[in-house]
């Protein structure tokens, strides 16, 4: 057991532990903060998969962007502390079915994937350049579609914000 293995398990424990808090906590703000640590743990695991660009993007987009916006909205909507959010159990049957399907899918992918040990892989240290090249050659169409979707979302957000002001 070397340092790398210990750090890998550390990130795994952080991810799973905070994910458990997200699910079981009755305090919605605490759940949101725990989700943040879950995202952080996942970013750490991406580094072990040699996906450094994805890991930092995870930090930038999820931890620094989406989670902050989520916390922001939770804080604005809740009346200070003691949030009256519904945290009870509803719709047990559909929830169990969907969770079972997702869980089954994840386990299936886990089984069919040809996992490689760390030592088998050559260390690629220019992942960002490779990703950029691929995005502008083989995957140009999905890239452009994603940018159009984002543009539409931006324009839509601006529209909604403006309409609220008038009314």
């Amino acid at each position: 057991m070397d340092l790398y293995t210990i750090i890998l398990y550390f990130f795994a424990v952080v991810t799973l532990g905070s994910a458990c808090i997200v699910v079981f906590s009755r305090n919605i703000v605490r759940a949101a903060f725990a989700l943040l640590f879950a995202f952080f743990g996942v970013a750490g695991i991406y580094i072990f998969l040699l996906a450094d660009f994805i890991a930092i993007t995870q930090l930038l987009i999820y931890v620094g962007g989406i989670m902050v916006l989520m916390l922001f909205s939770v804080m604005l909507t809740s009346h200070q502390i003691n949030v009256d959010a519904k945290t009870g159990t509803i719709q047990t049957l559909p929830a169990i079915l969907i969770a079972a399907c997702v869980g089954g899918g994840v386990i299936w992918v886990f089984w069919i994937t040809d996992w490689k040990e760390k030592s088998d892989l050559p260390v690629i240290d220019t992942t960002a350049a490779k990703i950029g090249e691929l995005l502008l050659t083989n995957y140009l169409l999905p890239f452009e579609i994603a940018s159009v979707v984002l543009l539409v979302a931006l324009v839509g957000a601006a529209m909604i914000a403006r309409r609220e002001k008038k009314g």
Partner: protein, 347 residues
């Protein structure tokens, strides 16, 4: 037991010691910056500031630190105790991770990763989590407002910062901060703010845009560290102390430390992207690994000095003005710059 011992001997202790090196730097740097800030502020306001502890009060920061260490750690009864306790540590961790990729010299960089510039942008967004957590956990309306303002501000100003970093990366062609600095090595004329070491025609055409980008990055970085004119999260005339109203003793000191460490980080980002990082302004004269540390820190300190000067000169912006500056002034200008720089580089 055996593997722990070998571990301690081989990797763990060494890693911990190496990663604690910037911490020593931060503490010393914060003492110096605190003293400078108080003195500069005082002289701007026609006062003399500390004069009694040591020569011209040079020992005052140390006395302040010792005082803070002894203060009682007060936690409000109605606060969310766990989050309240955790927040200062998270804020400081968010600040500290950025030091991993700062190129202090040609031979000293915590982690010479290929995505250094990108990592710095991501790390900048981590501090806000600690601030939000503190604002919410204090269970105090001032703190909450401070936290929420801070979140809105950081999210808005992250965009100009990231766009400005993109321009530097477009010209140098690398996200690695060591590479970016090496690209600008060889004298003041090669710094990116003056167009970088390109043929003179391209350089002249690039210069207006790089100067604008440099200026915008500097403005955005002041906003990222929550200092006047962008200190709305603390705004003492409106929110008492903002997100850290309820904090005292060492927990308050952690926020303070984080704020000043962040001040150095953003200055270091500006310096290494646009002002040649550790490279000497005189070409080969006074350059080398040790001089590198000197140039890097002194350039960063110059920016800290300018930020102190701005803080004690300008009034605070209103919230709507803050958003206006970010979304309607800085961001559109950077889009113009990105387009122009791309065009010039292609020609």
């Amino acid at each position: 037991m055996e593997f722990i011992q070998t571990l301690l001997a081989n990797q763990l202790v060494v890693s911990i010691l190496l990663s604690a090196l910037p911490l020593v730097f931060i503490i010393l740097m914060v003492l110096v910056v605190l003293y400078t800030e108080m003195k500069v502020a005082a002289h701007i306001q026609d006062r003399v500031a500390y004069m009694r502890t040591g020569w011209h009060g040079v020992l005052q920061p140390i006395a302040d630190m010792l005082k803070l260490l002894q203060k009682e750690d007060i936690i409000p009864t109605k606060a969310d105790k766990l989050l309240f306790r955790a927040a200062p540590f998270i804020a400081f961790t968010g600040t500290y991770v950025a030091y991993a990729v700062l190129p202090f010299s040609s031979i000293y960089i915590g982690s010479n990763i290929n995505l250094g510039a990108f990592f710095l942008v991501a790390a900048g967004s981590l501090v806000v989590i600690g601030i939000l957590m503190a604002g919410w956990a204090s269970n105090n309306k001032w703190s909450l407002f401070g936290g929420v303002r801070s979140a809105a501000q950081m999210i808005s100003y992250e965009i100009p910062t990231a766009l400005a970093v993109i321009i530097a990366v477009m010209i140098t062609g690398s996200l690695n901060l060591q590479e970016v600095t090496k690209f600008q090595d060889g004298g003041i004329g090669n710094w990116l703010v003056f167009g970088g070491p390109l043929p003179w025609m391209q350089k002249l055409m690039l210069m207006p845009f790089t100067v604008i980008t440099f200026f915008i990055l500097f403005v955005a970085s002041i906003a990222e560290v929550n200092r006047t004119p962008f200190d709305l999260p603390e705004a003492e005339s409106e929110l008492v102390q903002g997100f850290n109203t309820e904090y005292s003793g060492m927990r308050f000191a952690m926020f303070y430390l984080s704020e000043y460490a962040n001040l150095f980080t953003v200055s270091a980002v500006v310096v290494s992207l646009f002002l040649g990082g550790w490279s000497s302004p005189f070409g080969a004269f006074m350059s080398g690994p040790v001089w590198g540390v000197f140039w890097f820190t002194s350039k960063a300190f110059l920016f800290i000095l300018i930020q102190i000067w701005i803080r004690w000169t300008l009034p605070r912006l209103r919230v709507d003005q803050l958003m206006y500056v970010s979304w309607k002034v800085l961001t559109p200008w950077l889009f113009v710059c990105i387009f122009a720089v791309g065009l010039i580089l292609v020609i």
